[in-house]
Point group: C3
Chain length 184, copies 3
């Protein structure tokens, strides 16, 4: 049972690399999408991802209860491919209708710590291989607006918490993997 984190910037080839890892495992692949199509731009992005996936993969959509989904689908003959953690985090942080202050300390919605904990436990107790795709979002200039800084902080903390529970981690740059942890 191995867990692998594939992290990288936008359009760095994260999903394609994760999909190639899953395909080469020889196991049944459960593709766990966290994105919902809310507008035409997002629909186009999702359609692109779908074209690339193999016909015999099981596709599941889970925007919020990700830990429970990993626990449900994990099995010794399966690879669960989660694409991606950043969209899930965004779904979770903005799952509640509310106004965010422009400065100051922002409190996450109640679901956040519960679902975050469930995700981390699902990795510790995984019944099968898991591959997780995530974005590096913290290497640009510190964003204006407390809400954006908060998102960058939580995404970075999540990536650290996931990486420490993974056996392997790779950073994608221009479609090329750099090994961060574990064997290639």
């Amino acid at each position: 049972m191995t867990a692998t984190l594939v992290i990288g910037g936008a359009r760095s080839g994260k999903s394609a690399h994760a999909e190639a890892l899953a395909a080469s495992s020889g196991k049944k692949v459960v593709y766990l999408a966290t994105a919902h199509a809310r507008d035409a731009e997002m629909a186009a992005r999702i359609a692109l991802h779908r074209q690339r996936r193999q016909a015999d993969w099981i596709s599941v959509e889970e925007p919020l209860a990700l830990g429970a989904a990993i626990a449900r689908w994990g099995a010794p003959d399966c690879v669960v491919l989660v694409d991606c953690l950043t969209v899930w985090l965004s779904n979770l942080l903005f799952s509640e209708q509310r106004d965010y202050p422009d400065v100051g300390v922002i409190m996450p919605p109640p679901a956040f710590s519960r679902e975050r904990q469930a995700l981390l436990e699902s990795l510790e107790q995984a019944g099968g291989d898991v591959i997780l795709v995530s974005n590096e979002v913290g290497m640009g200039i510190v964003p204006q607006g407390a809400i954006s800084r908060w998102f960058v902080d939580e995404a970075g903390r999540l990536n650290q918490a996931v990486a420490v529970r993974c056996d392997c981690a790779v950073l994608m740059v221009a479609g090329l993997p750099m090994q961060l942890k574990g064997a290639a």
Copy 2:
């Protein structure tokens, strides 16, 4: 005939590293600049780049037809140094006067796919060594505005398409190269 991609963030030492690679090749260097000076800030940036270049290099400016320029200048005793792909992409995407929507799917101008294809073919059929400088722009927070997301996407896709056609690729961080592909 080798092609090398030097990728990195702003002020990561990309250009200096690419210029050192070119200078140490022992070949004649053709410096292919993609930037035009449109304002004082850009002029200052270009002047800085110019100071560093060696006197016996051939300097050429080509903001749009980059593939044709690489094909024209490529020769077994030459290194063509392209600085940089991100500015070229920006020239190309914004080569047309038009209004961009703030949300939704954006269509590139007609010249884009033609010139992009010409660039990729020029790398596959290069008559001499090519060194290409490009920016990693996708590791910050997802930008607001569809036009910026579109630029990040196209820059990332371009970097992948170029990297796959290169023999060597390095990521620059704080002036230090990390080998992504090929031998150091």
Copy 3:
């Protein structure tokens, strides 16, 4: 006497890694903080950092005269841990009350080149080990506004100038170190 640069994005685990390096040195640790708490958000960030530090570390705050502080505290039986260069640069660049233009070339305040020079000399003449934490801020999209581009440029140049004077440098991604320079 070794100098080490720990560079990474926001929430990449830079500070924790630098603190672990300092703690494992077996030497007396002088923690040199460059941040001042000006609002609740910053106070919360500083408090988090403080919780993690060990009780027997010497804590010093120096927002501007960083080179002098490194020179003062450097000693063969000490490690000076500077956290972080990016905040210091920001303190320095914005140490003067003035209006910045939205386009064009921006001139730094007079203190900037003097303090920058003092920092670089303090690394060259360090009386003991130094560990410096810094942010990679240049891998996002080019920011709008001349002042932000200027900050990105100066941060990148500073990181290069520091890295070239360090024996070791690591890039942090998701809490995992990648060796840029020197031995692990």
